[in-house]
């Protein structure tokens, strides 16, 4: 007869860069249930709208997370601009797309590295971070920061990109693409990686939808759902199709992210080619009065920035529903029935971002 145990997993664990805890209920080596716990580093940034006015808060929104920095401030600014009826210049919408895709690019490459580290494939981890460094260099040249972009403000962006910078960036992305193909070929074809990921952490198409999965987790289970299709910023003018896999396992989630890396490069190239001349911000007058749910696609999936304003300079409510928070119920399903040795890989292929979750 199998012996039932409760194994605490996290909040400190070698494969977890950030704290999340699971009580794994096991029968011998098989996980039969998992109970998640969060809130080890909750910061209460939503409460800060009571002390920072709506212009200053863009600075705070940028710092909700490192890997998704740009898209948090972008979602926040879009919501406030929508409430105030501000029409941002078209050049700004293209610049936002370029920076958002650079953010997705470095986040996905970083995930590949961390995943490789979890397999015990350290040379691949270093190779991934070496390639990511080149993306960070582009971010540094265009924004001045390497992780926190600090480029969004209510009414536009803070900096422009010259034509020369855009051309240089396009050239750098071509050479980077070659390196990325070398890197991702290992993930796609390596026997030991496939052995660890194929058929592990399965989430069915129905469960992924019913449990509110978002992002690569939803797309890896066969749903073509990508918030960029709504057409916010300049995405409405770019060719974009969601990257979909149907297997629903760890390997499928890995493949979706790899294909999205190349999609991001393509989108940056498209945006750099179509960006119009003109101003990149508008003056902001008055205070917001109203509410809006801004929905955008982060590297980990759909994020909601809800803003409610009452005509004063302080917002009444700001809420962020982060993709990782939405993916937690599916994590439990993916862990059920798995082997204890596979738990780190399963959790990593869900790409949890606890910094976002503990906003």
């Amino acid at each position: 007869m199998a012996r039932t145990n409760i194994i605490p997993f996290g909040p400190q664990h070698p494969v977890l860069p950030e704290p999340i805890h699971f009580d794994l209920i096991t029968e011998d080596e098989k996980v039969v249930d998992a109970i998640p716990s969060i809130s080890f580093v909750h910061r209460g940034l939503e409460k800060l709208v009571e002390k920072r006015d709506f212009i200053d808060y863009a600075y705070v929104a940028d710092r909700i997370c490192g890997l998704c920095s740009f898209m948090h401030s972008m979602g926040y600014c879009q919501a406030v601009e929508e409430i105030m009826g501000l029409e941002v210049p078209e050049r700004c919408t293209y610049l936002r797309v370029i920076w958002a895709e650079l953010g997705r690019l470095h986040s996905h490459i970083f995930w590949l590295g961390v995943a490789a580290d979890a397999f015990g494939f350290e040379s691949l981890f270093m190779q991934a971070l070496r390639v990511r460094e080149r993306v960070l260099d582009i971010i540094e040249v265009t924004t001045g920061g390497r992780v926190i972009f600090g480029m969004n403000k209510v009414g536009g962006v803070k900096r422009d990109m010259s034509d020369e910078t855009l051309k240089t960036m396009a050239k750098q992305l071509i050479s980077m693409e070659k390196d990325l193909h070398e890197l991702t070929d290992v993930f796609i074809n390596d026997y030991s990686i496939k052995h660890r990921l194929v058929g592990v952490g399965y989430i069915s198409r129905e469960d992924a939808y019913r449990l509110g999965c978002v992002g690569p987790m939803l797309r890896a289970s066969g749903h073509a759902s990508d918030m960029r299709k709504i057409g916010y910023a300049a995405y409405k003018n770019l060719d974009l199709e969601p990257m979909v896999e149907t297997a629903g396992d760890c390997y499928a989630r890995c493949l979706v992210r790899i294909r999205e890396i190349f999609q991001s490069i393509d989108l940056i190239r498209q945006a750099a080619g179509k960006i119009p001349e003109g101003p990149f911000d508008v003056n902001v007058k008055g205070t917001p009065d109203g509410e809006y749910f801004s929905r955008i696609e982060q590297p980990r999936g759909e994020v909601i920035h809800y803003v409610k304003a009452n005509g004063t300079k302080y917002l009444q409510r700001f809420r962020v529903r982060t993709p990782t928070f939405s993916n937690i119920p599916a994590m439990i399903i993916a862990l059920k029935g798995s082997q204890v040795a596979d738990v780190p890989n399963i959790i990593l292929t869900l790409d949890p971002c606890i910094s976002c979750t503990e906003r």
Binding site: I35, S37, I38, S39, F40, H42, G44, E46, K47, E50, E82, Y209, R210, L211, G212, M227, K229, I230, G231, Y232, K236, Y292, F293, R295, E302, I304, Y306, K308, Q316, R317, R319, R321, F325, S326, I328, P329, A330
Partner: protein, 151 residues
């Protein structure tokens, strides 16, 4: 581009029926959010189907008990525990109830009506000098306790 967003106000007793209806239509539950009003709470239940964004809005008083929708959407338990811990709203029949331990906060229910920031009094111009008080009785009352304390 502005995304069309629908907000439907409903009574709290009609919540389960409305959510079950959306589930039957194939909507995905996106989130449950809460906003503190002056004397009530506003709960937004957001759903999506083929990029069509729909919200059910329930307004609850501080004593009201809200029925959990985790029986229909299993992922709702996270949002409901969050609302319970941060706002102090009672939610009954949650599929997984953390009993107030989902969020570890230094103050209980930080977003509740009781913890809502009170409006500040209007600022006085800096140049206005304080008028000396001519009420001798008031001055005496202020000075008396000081003397007593020295003694």
């Amino acid at each position: 581009m502005s995304e069309p967003q629908e907000i439907i106000p409903i009574e709290k007793d009609a919540l389960l029926g409305a959510v079950a209806d959306l589930y039957a239509q194939g909507y995905r539950m996106v989130q449950i959010g809460c906003t503190t009003l002056e004397n009530a709470y506003e709960l937004n239940y957001s759903f999506d189907k083929d990029y069509h964004f729909k919200n059910l809005r329930v307004t609850a008083n501080r004593e009201d008990e809200i029925q959990s929708i985790s029986v229909i959407y299993p992922n709702a338990f996270l949002y409901e525990n969050e609302i319970h811990d941060l706002f102090g709203i009672k939610i009954k029949n949650m599929s997984v109830d953390y009993k107030g331990t989902f969020y570890r906060t230094t103050i209980t229910t930080p977003f509740s009506i009781e913890n809502l920031p009170k409006p500040k009094p209007p600022k006085q111009p800096k140049n206005v000098l304080k008028q000396p008080s001519h009420d001798s009785k008031q001055q005496a009352e202020v000075q008396t306790p000081q003397k007593e304390s020295k003694e």
